[in-house]
């Protein structure tokens, strides 16, 4: 009797498990199908240039280095949304202090860390020393309450204006001005690892998008001015009222017939 109950119980569990897995995979699929969003900023500001050329001294060395096996998926996994500060996915060296040297010993210049069998990602802002102000570890996988937060999809990579054009920078540059820290070296996610780190002046060719608008200039009706002596030349300023305008178009119509 007991063993039958256990059997029934296990079957029920399996069923629920299957429903859950199918359900979540359907959900994931739906999420993946959602159109990629592109970050745009109507508050017009040109990204600051702080730290743009940091790490350029190492640029040549990057070519000699092994390629990361880490992909973009893993990169985005420990961020609440694209652009959010990443969480700390490993144990802390010390619970004490603001991070600073403790973090920078691996994350300033990167390199292989035996403890985690991985190349340490490099921080794009080593001058901000209170690391723990934005980056926090995970002490549990559980949530206090379930969340309905929907993580937006990351921007598509390799967005180009035409074949052969240099891809634009599809993400914001706040806190991420130094391109080489994420796009070069062994810790760079393989999809966004740059083939030519030695060119250093990245923003010479790759530009961020600071506005969704495009620049156009329609001919302005009110951009009128009077040339000196204009009247003599017959260009006198004259406003036509609506009746006159329709009269003229009437004439033109008749002319054309």
């Amino acid at each position: 009797m007991k063993s039958r109950l256990v059997l029934i119980g296990m079957c029920a569990l399996l069923m629920f498990g299957a429903i859950y897995i199918i359900g979540t995979s359907l959900y994931e699929e739906r999420k993946a199908a959602a159109p990629a969003t592109v970050a745009t900023n109507p508050v017009s500001s040109i990204p600051i240039e702080r730290g743009v050329f940091a790490r350029s001294a190492e640029a040549l060395l990057y070519q000699e280095m092994p390629e990361s096996q880490k992909g973009l998926e893993a990169y985005y996994q420990n961020r609440a949304y694209p652009g959010a500060p990443p969480i700390i996915p490993h144990q802390l060296i010390s619970e004490k202090g603001i991070g600073g040297k403790n973090c920078l010993q691996c994350h300033q210049n990167g390199g292989y860390v035996e403890q985690f069998s991985a190349f340490a990602p490099i921080t794009p802002h080593p001058d901000l020393l209170n690391c723990m102000q934005c980056h926090v570890p995970q002490k549990t996988n559980l949530a206090f309450q379930a969340t309905n937060w929907e993580k937006m999809a990351a921007a598509d990579i390799h967005q180009v204006a035409m074949p052969g054009a240099p891809p634009v920078i599809p993400h914001d540059l706040d806190m991420r001005n130094n391109c080489l820290s994420c796009h070069a070296g062994p810790s760079a996610p393989k999809e966004i690892r740059v083939s030519h780190p030695e060119r250093v002046n990245c923003r010479q060719c790759h530009l961020p998008r600071t506005t969704p608008d495009i620049f156009t200039k329609p001919v302005q009706e009110n951009a009128t001015f009077k040339r000196p002596g204009g009247d003599e030349m017959g260009y006198s300023e004259q406003k036509l009222d609506n009746a006159e305008v329709s009269q003229i178009s009437e004439w033109i119509k008749n002319e054309n017939q």
Binding site: S45, I87, G100, L129, C134, P212
Partner: protein
């Protein structure tokens, strides 16, 4: 499609345009929802939902940098247990109701209670997270329309001592300086303030200055923290003895001839007040200070007791360290910024220690100029903007105090109510308000945007009070909390950017945010909840605005209270446009430093003018050291200190619902000094029982982790509603400010064996 497959990896312009219009992110500015720093955020909104956050580079507060709470702040809107419907307690159980039923019931209850028990039987308890319109409408409804001074806010338990400190020393509230002082000061002295965790963005600004120039950061504390780790020097002192340290610094300054004689002679007077002023632990406690004229000679004589060598034992700080501190303040070539928050404010002599730190700056003349700045930090996004400036405290009006007839007339004139309506006597400050609820003088309490059933000290008594038979409690909130648990009516509130509003931060900066999102379900802004009830009470003429224009109209009306050079505030259009505007806003210009004619157009004389005081001079106060209300003894041998952690904000009702933040710090703990832990046979992670004379709690020990209290002290963060540390704390308060001391009471500590 065909083209795309011919050129893999290339997204064609057409696709990009589709991507942009369908999923485009619209970035809008807002101050952060959490602490009093008031960082400018840009919130990314897409398809009616907040999807991302970045620091607002145009905000002079944070210049594009946030902390982890700010970056994840928008996630706090989306937890699955968000309150979207009102609840009414029927037969003891909270049952779903409609908004109309709930608002009708509130108005009905208020009417009958006022009829049966008088106006002073109804009360409102708000918060420093109230937007400015929320607080303004609450004050106008209760003080102007109903006619009771039963208006209080949780800022009373947060920065009331800062207010009384400013008022007693300068006659006007809020700092003379601003955040720009960080870029000018050479020395930063943090008085009991763990800034690396509590004000991280400003702390980073300080660290940035240290990378660029030779600045010193001094951490003066009772506990070793992240701030200590980053500071150039940490000086640990025994709880409450900051009073003696400040006096000893003054002694050294005078004794070594570092006093700025000209400044003190021309711009200061010396005053003394009452001593042995009590702790307010008993009901109906009353206190009124009586300032007496004193002199520099008397001050010098008084300070003889505070020679550094004489206070070594009391403070636990060596005379050498005190002299070092004094030399930093005394050096005429160094600009000094003092910073503090709850360590000095939540203090049974909170007003005094605020006065004493001002004394140091006044004696040296280091004030009201760039980089010379005693700076009182705040913990809530609009503690300054709403509670202090609108004046949502029992004795306050938007301009001035209820005791002053002229101030009552101004309010009555702007509110268009008879002046007799506004009572001239303050009623209850926060602790006494909960006591009055317990005693039965107050029958009705409306609690908005705060969680007192986690934060009120000596919690057991006041929780029982709320559950008494003929009491009626309304709670407006965004999530279920221990406070909604005791409610008779729960109103779902629109949160932050789900409505329009303004916050005011620590540096006199008012920041507007527009409505970016639709509130969920029937959730309604706190302002509009109050207006709906006001109309049901028959005051529709006093609140004639529409849902579309009320914030703008309220701002216009409120601005009239502050007209003039001393507190002029920016017009609505300017606020909408800019990432915050500082007051006094005079002739289109912000005032960065007050009380000096070079920066402040309100000054009537050349140079310094402390125009808050009638004589135009700042007051130096003679304030002694007095012992705390409760100190460790044989039965309760440990100090209990409480506070926050970086990841969680206040009671955690928002931050714990952000997965990243909860997963970083899932639950509260008790920090022990390693030597104490060893003596108690406790290792990290063991369960420990803490007991005070008021309650007990069992929680996990944290030894040698993030923070380390001094020996004989334990520290517990208060964010976790699963471990209500305020059941242990003491409801003793500063007799002048009425702000409780959450940092000092006596507990016993033992290993919990189950």
């Amino acid at each position: 499609m065909a083209a795309a497959s011919m050129f893999p990896g290339i997204v064609f312009p057409k696709d990009q345009i589709v991507g942009q219009t369908n999923g485009a992110i619209n970035w809008k500015k807002t101050p952060c929802r959490f602490c009093g720093v008031g960082c400018g955020l840009l919130v990314g909104v897409s398809d009616g939902k907040a999807v991302a956050v970045k620091g607002d580079p145009a905000s002079p507060v944070n210049k594009g940098l946030c902390c982890v709470k700010g970056y994840h702040s928008v996630m706090a809107l989306y937890a699955s247990d968000r309150l979207t419907k009102p609840y009414i307690r029927r037969n003891g159980k909270l049952q779903e109701a409609t908004m109309k039923e709930a608002l009708d019931l509130i108005a009905e209850k208020m009417k009958t209670i006022i009829q049966e028990h008088g106006k002073d039987a109804v009360s409102i308890y708000g918060s420093g997270q109230w937007t400015i319109p929320d607080g303004y409408v609450a004050s106008k409804l209760f003080k102007g329309a109903i006619g009771t001074n039963n208006v209080e806010a949780n800022a009373r338990v947060c920065m009331a001592s800062a207010v009384t400190g400013f008022i007693t020393s300068f006659g006007m509230d809020e700092p003379m300086g601003c955040y720009e002082d960080f870029d000018h000061a050479d020395v930063f002295v943090l008085w009991g303030n763990n800034m690396a965790e509590m004000h991280p963005v400003l702390f980073s600004r300080m660290l940035d200055q240290r990378l660029k120039r030779d600045v010193k950061i001094i951490d003066l504390a009772t506990r070793t923290t992240r701030t200590s780790a980053a500071a150039d020097r940490t000086i640990l002192f025994k709880p409450q003895t900051d009073l003696a340290i400040a006096n000893a610094i003054c002694y050294e300054i005078i004794h070594n001839g570092w006093m700025n004689d000209d400044f003190v002679r021309n711009h200061c007077v010396v005053k003394s007040g009452k001593t042995n002023i009590g702790y307010g632990t008993e009901d109906h406690f009353k206190f009124k200070d009586e300032p007496k004229a004193s002199s520099l000679a008397e001050l010098k004589h008084f300070l003889e007791d505070y020679k550094p060598e004489k206070v070594e034992e009391l403070t636990g700080v060596s005379a050498k360290d005190i002299k070092y501190l004094a030399s930093l303040y005394g050096n005429p070539n160094k600009k000094v910024m003092s910073l503090w928050c709850m360590g000095m404010n939540q203090h049974t002599r909170g007003t005094w220690i605020n006065n004493l730190v001002y004394n140091i700056h006044l004696l040296t003349g280091k004030i009201s100029t760039p980089g010379n700045s005693p700076f009182s930090l705040t913990g809530q996004p609009s503690a300054c903007g709403t509670v202090r400036e609108v004046g949502t405290l029992t004795h306050k009006l938007p301009h001035g105090v209820v005791m002053n007839e002229k101030h009552r007339k101004i309010a009555a004139d702007i509110w268009k109510v008879p002046v007799e309506r506004i009572p001239s006597k303050p009623t209850y400050h926060t602790v006494e308000m909960f006591r009055a609820l317990d005693r039965g003088e107050i029958k009705f309490m409306w609690i908005q945007v705060t969680n007192p059933m986690v934060t009120i000290p000596n919690l057991n008594r006041y929780r029982d009070a709320t559950k008494k038979d003929d009491r009626f409690i309304v709670v407006s909130d965004v999530y279920p909390t221990p406070t909604t648990d005791i409610a008779d009516v729960i109103l779902p509130a629109a949160m932050w950017i789900e409505r329009e509003g303004m916050y005011g931060n620590s540096e006199r900066r008012t920041q507007h945010f527009e409505q970016m999102l639709q509130p969920p379900g029937e959730a309604m802004s706190d302002t509009w909840q109050l207006i709906e009830v006001a109309r049901r009470l028959g005051y529709e003429k006093l609140f004639p605005w529409t849902e579309e224009n009320h914030v703008e109209k309220i701002w216009e009306e409120y601005s009239r209270f502050h007209e003039g050079a001393k507190h002029g505030i920016a017009p609505y259009e300017v606020l909408k446009e800019r990432s915050g505007v500082q007051w006094p806003y005079v002739n289109g210009k912000e005032t960065k430093w007050r009380y000096h004619s070079k920066y402040d157009p309100a000054c009537e004389k050349e140079g310094y003018d402390f125009y808050g005081k009638p004589e135009g001079k700042a007051w130096i106060w003679i304030r002694p050291y007095e012992a705390p209300a409760e100190s460790p003894d044989r039965d309760y041998p440990f100090w209990l200190n409480t506070g926050r952690v970086l990841e969680h904000w206040h009671t955690g009702s928002m931050t714990r619902r952000v997965p990243v933040l909860h997963q970083a710090v899932p639950s509260a703990y008790v920090e022990l000094h390693p030597a104490d832990a060893k003596a108690l046979n406790v290792v990290n992670g063991d369960l420990v029982k803490l007991a005070s004379r008021r309650g007990e709690i069992v929680l996990r020990a944290s030894v040698d982790e993030r923070g380390q209290p001094t020996r004989g002290q334990v520290f517990v963060p208060f964010f976790d509603e699963g471990y209500l540390i305020n059941e242990l704390t003491l409801d003793a308060f500063c007799p002048i400010s009425k702000e409780p001391d959450y940092k000092k009471c006596a507990v016993k500590v033992e290993k919990y064996l189950g």
